[in-house]
């Protein structure tokens, strides 16, 4: 196997796993600013798989591709610290409001432009849990897909992939090109490497360079640029992006209001707990 060109699909997501009470604004909308923005966890599992392949096959390159606002460059730097070779930030106002299908359209165009042999992404992002973007990109590229990957290796020119399904394990083999989505049960991503942190700490997109003073950034180091692509760069049709390119629309957003029951409040005292147990036995809920 010669060097393989790998693109890792990654997303910057609000950390919805630890949403506190202050995460909702008074008007019921989500207060994104209080949620830390993180590298989507399963995309890190995907990056690890890519780095493992690179270790085995000389000449392999790993490029992170992400779509998002300007600050999503943060996760490209995070990927570079952990061993990725380069990154591309797909960013444009026209992308805003894209559903999974419009997102896949844009990502597929960017993938075509990068012309990799293998695309690896996380199974799903924690802010939507849809698991749709990987397969939708594969369909737009006309490539096969293998989802729920947990382990992969090459045998000759075919990739052998172990899939973790709800009810078991399946091993499949596929030629390249291919889209793979990686499960959270796959090995965790390696940590940042101190040397790489030093090297890429000041890697910036053009937009970031415009808004920051370059003096302290550049210093005596060579400036490392993170590639930034807009709608024009990927030759996308704006009609297929954003709200106009999204078949699904949000009709309504409701705050979660739990219907209150009349709850009986009890303490941890023996007296309270014994009376509860007796009551449940009495009405045959238990026993």
């Amino acid at each position: 196997m010669n060097g393989i060109k790998i693109v890792v699909l990654a997303k910057q997501v609000p950390d919805t796993r630890n949403v506190g009470p202050d995460a909702m604004k008074a008007d019921g909308t989500v207060n994104r600013s209080v949620l830390p923005a993180i590298f989507n966890p399963e995309d890190l599992n995907a990056l690890e798989q890519a780095l493992r392949i690179r270790e085995k096959y000389e000449g392999t390159t790993v490029t992170i591709l992400t779509m998002g606002p300007g600050r999503a460059a943060e996760i490209i730097r995070e990927g570079l610290y952990r061993g990725a070779d380069s990154g591309v930030l797909l960013t444009d106002r026209a992308f805003a409001g894209s559903d999974t299908l419009a997102t896949s359209y844009a990502l597929a165009l960017a993938v075509k432009k990068l012309s990799p042999d293998l695309v690896i992404g996380g199974r799903q992002a924690i802010d939507g849990d849809t698991a749709q973007v990987g397969p939708q990109v594969a369909e737009k590229l006309g490539w096969p897909q293998v989802t729920y990957a947990e382990e992969m290796h090459f045998e000759d020119d075919r990739l052998i992939i172990r899939r973790r399904l709800e009810r078991g394990v399946e091993t499949v083999s596929s030629p390249l090109p291919l889209v793979v989505t990686v499960n959270g049960t796959a090995p965790a991503c390696r940590y940042r490497h101190a040397r790489l942190v030093m090297k890429y700490k000041y890697a910036r997109t053009d937009t970031e360079l415009q808004s920051e003073s370059t003096d302290y950034i550049a210093g005596s180091r060579p400036l490392i640029k993170i590639t930034e692509w807009d709608v024009e760069a990927i030759e996308a049709d704006e009609e297929q992006l954003g709200l106009s390119g999204s078949p699904t629309k949000v009709k309504e957003i409701d705050n979660v209001i739990l219907q209150s029951k009349e709850s009986r409040q009890l303490t941890a005292s023996d007296k309270d707990i014994e009376s509860l147990v007796l009551e449940l036995l009495e009405n045959h809920t238990i026993g």
């Binding site: 849809t130 939708q136 699904t248 147990v277 036995l281 809920t285």
Partner: protein, 339 residues
């Protein structure tokens, strides 16, 4: 034409529970819409499969029977289904949110450029008015699901594209036989019309499917733990209580993510929906993704030391205290009083 389609997934050669649940929901939606309920089943050696589907009120069963379809593979299944959908132009297509449905659904929606909503917890028919164009969309599918980590409930619609696609987890919808003697029509699909040789490049080398060992869905009593349990070891307490009461242990997503319990025990939007007689929520805060999977329980006991935990407002009994103190007391008093 423009009927409601359900993808019928097979589990060991039998229609999967989730597919039968969707046929039940599909029948009631089709009645509202005044359209037919159709289903498509793909596999090999499917003779007589329609007899297991007609009792759910299915009008048409499309059967794709071919050795290449024996086990689920993305590309050949996608080609057959998109091929059929291009001919039949369904208005709605429903699939189970299983490993298979979540692999297949997005692929089909991408091929047909139709929207797909994952993991719906509710499906309804309604109208949608767009002020800007003064247009009313009549009788479209409301796809209701928690979003953004369960902090909001979103109603998603798909006004301009067909089919309107949605996936639903097993156990969310109820399964009900309409009429055991109901008979519909069987239509055989000529598989070679749709499958191309390049659809078969991915080969299955090995499959190990496990029988479902843990079955929290059918448990009458569920002792469920959340992130507040603190550790996998503390989950041991839950197993003790469950075994004393004759119940099963379940967990919230946060607890599963933290490694306290296996995914097969997860209750909630991305896990299993349960309706036990008694649900004991230990150290669970009660995010909507979790409560969506248990709020139809007969009785709910919440044990935690957070008076503000959302689960408390759902619970019939709230025990304000430390789980590690309360559970042994529950066991003690149960043993002392039960006959």
């Amino acid at each position: 034409m423009n009927n409601l389609f359900v993808f019928c997934e097979l589990d060991e050669g039998k229609p999967a529970d989730v597919s039968l649940e969707l046929l039940t929901k599909g029948r009631s939606l089709a009645n509202t819409l005044g359209c037919k309920l159709e289903t498509i089943v793909l596999g090999h050696g499917l003779d007589g499969i329609e007899n297991e589907l007609f009792p759910y009120g299915v009008d048409v069963v499309h059967v794709a029977d071919d050795p290449a379809l024996e086990h689920y593979r993305t590309m050949p299944f996608t080609s057959v289904i998109t091929g059929l959908f291009r001919q039949e132009e369904p208005q709605i297509a429903l699939m189970g949110a299983t490993s298979t449905g979540r692999d297949l659904g997005p692929r089909v929606s991408s091929a047909l450029h139709s929207g797909l909503t994952a993991d719906c917890t509710g499906l309804e028919i309604g109208d949608h008015y767009v002020k800007r164009t003064d247009t009313t969309y009549k009788n479209i599918l409301y796809q209701i699901r928690p979003a953004f980590g369960g902090n909001i409930i979103a109603t998603i619609i798909n006004p301009d594209h067909r089919p309107q696609m949605a996936t639903v987890r097993e156990g969310v919808m109820k399964r009900e036989i309409v009429n055991r003697n109901h008979r519909g029509e069987v239509k055989k699909i000529n598989v070679s019309d749709f499958i191309k040789p390049e659809d078969l490049v991915v080969e299955i080398i090995e499959r190990h499917m496990e029988a479902r060992r843990v079955d929290i869905k059918s448990a009458q009593i569920i002792v469920s733990g959340g992130y507040g349990m603190g550790s996998r070891e503390n989950f041991g307490l839950l197993y003790e209580l469950a075994s004393v009461l004759g119940g099963e242990v379940a967990a919230s997503r946060a607890a599963v993510d933290a490694g306290f319990a296996g995914h097969e025990r997860q209750v909630g939007q991305t896990g299993v929906t349960v309706r036990p007689k008694l649900y004991i929520a230990c150290g669970i805060s009660g995010q909507i993704q979790h409560t969506a999977g248990m709020n139809q329980s007969g009785k709910i006991i919440a044990i935690n030391n957070d008076p503000m935990a959302p689960i408390n407002s759902l619970a019939d009994y709230v025990i304000n205290g430390d789980v590690a103190e309360v559970i042994p007391k529950l066991i003690k008093h149960y043993k002392a009083n039960a006959r």
